[in-house]
């Protein structure tokens, strides 16, 4: 596992996919739309690569549903 751990809150995420958009535009390009639904019915984003810790997703998320943790190891 990489140094950064992306945490997506399924209860809060509305599936706007702005995090996916910005991660591809300015981040590591490691977020994508998944088949899974969030609790509120949107498309849950998923992590498909190694996060670079730029936190663009964290800043753009209108629902404060995604954050990036620094791994302890």
């Amino acid at each position: 596992m990489g140094r950064f751990n992306v945490v997506i809150d399924r209860d809060l995420c509305k599936g706007c996919l702005l995090c996916v958009y910005i991660c591809n535009k300015r981040g590591g390009g490691i977020l994508a739309e998944s088949e899974e639904r969030t609790l509120l019915g949107g498309a849950l984003p998923k992590v498909i690569g190694e996060c670079i810790g730029c936190r663009w997703c964290e800043r753009i998320c209108p629902d404060l549903a995604i954050s990036v943790e620094v791994s302890q190891c």
Partner: protein
């Protein structure tokens, strides 16, 4: 789950009612980050808002606040600031709330240089009531009340604020979350009337009628339209359907209203207590 900004959100109020991809949440996000980075005490900030989608923000922040009637956020904020000048008073509301029904209050708060930070979420329409046109709706744009295109000319909020003498003026888009956060930090620490306009997508109402697409597509368009420029005069801070100039437009100093008022109250009471003047009570 925990988010680093959780402690600034009022327990039980999240998820907020804003539509998926609505920019209001990005503004809230930037505001909380600014407060966090400045290390401000939550108890020393008051968030005042009016009615509208953006107006709901005062209920979401875990800070003292006031959700006023439509258009009246600024007068309530002036009251709070005047009574308790040591507090940081922030108004966060929509374009309709601040500039249609509440427009007159903006004029005089800026003219008097009351120490407030006013953040306007400009989504070019009345989102909450179903997408009617308002004073910032671009010419030709489609809204519920302009089904054949808007025939009116929109206000340029930056130029307006400049003409009224606001001491700090900036405009950003939600596509500039870092600059917006830094600008909010400036506004929070600046003494005097600070104004930040934030261009933000109303995906559901304005976006749908003007074919802006789903949230990512709307974002992509905004990124194309909203350009950051340095040292632009407020009179040239263009805001049009296909070009929006963003940046900081003014940062100056000037005597502030509540400070002048309290100085005067102190001086007059001292003179009165020495019997030098008579004060009618």
């Amino acid at each position: 789950m925990t988010h680093p900004l959780d402690r600034y959100l009022r327990p039980g109020m999240i998820p907020h009612i804003w539509c998926p991809g609505c920019g209001n949440g990005i503004i809230l996000n930037a505001f909380l980050r600014a407060v966090d980075e400045l290390g401000l005490d939550q108890d020393e900030i008051v968030v005042v808002s009016g009615i509208g989608c953006m107006g709901r923000v005062s209920g979401y922040v875990n800070m003292d606040g006031f959700h006023t009637t439509h258009g009246r956020a600024i007068p309530v904020a002036i009251g709070i600031k005047t009574a308790r000048p040591e507090l940081k008073v922030v108004v966060i509301s929509g374009d309709g709330d601040l500039f249609a029904i509440g427009g007159n209050h903006f004029l005089h708060a800026a003219r008097r240089n009351v120490d407030l930070l006013v953040i306007c979420a400009n989504n070019f329409n009345y989102g909450m009531t179903g997408g009617q046109m308002g004073p910032t709706t671009p010419s030709k744009a489609y809204t519920t009340t302009t089904p054949y295109g808007n025939i009116e000319h929109p206000l340029n909020l930056v130029y307006l604020a400049a003409s009224l003498g606001a001491v700090y003026i900036a405009r950003w888009c939600v596509t500039h979350p870092l600059q917006l956060k830094e600008s909010i930090k400036r506004g929070l620490t600046k003494r005097g009337f600070s104004f930040i306009e934030v261009v933000t997508p109303c995906v559901t109402e304005y976006g749908r009628r003007n074919r802006m697409g789903e949230p990512r597509e709307f974002m992509r368009r905004l990124r194309e339209i909203c350009v950051i420029r340095r040292g632009v005069d407020p009179s040239e801070a263009v805001i049009e359907a296909d070009r929006i100039i963003c940046g900081e437009f003014r940062d100056v100093d000037k005597p502030e209203f509540t400070q002048l008022l309290w100085n005067m109250i102190r001086e007059v009471s001292e003179k009165a207590s020495r019997g030098e003047i008579e004060v009618a009570l």
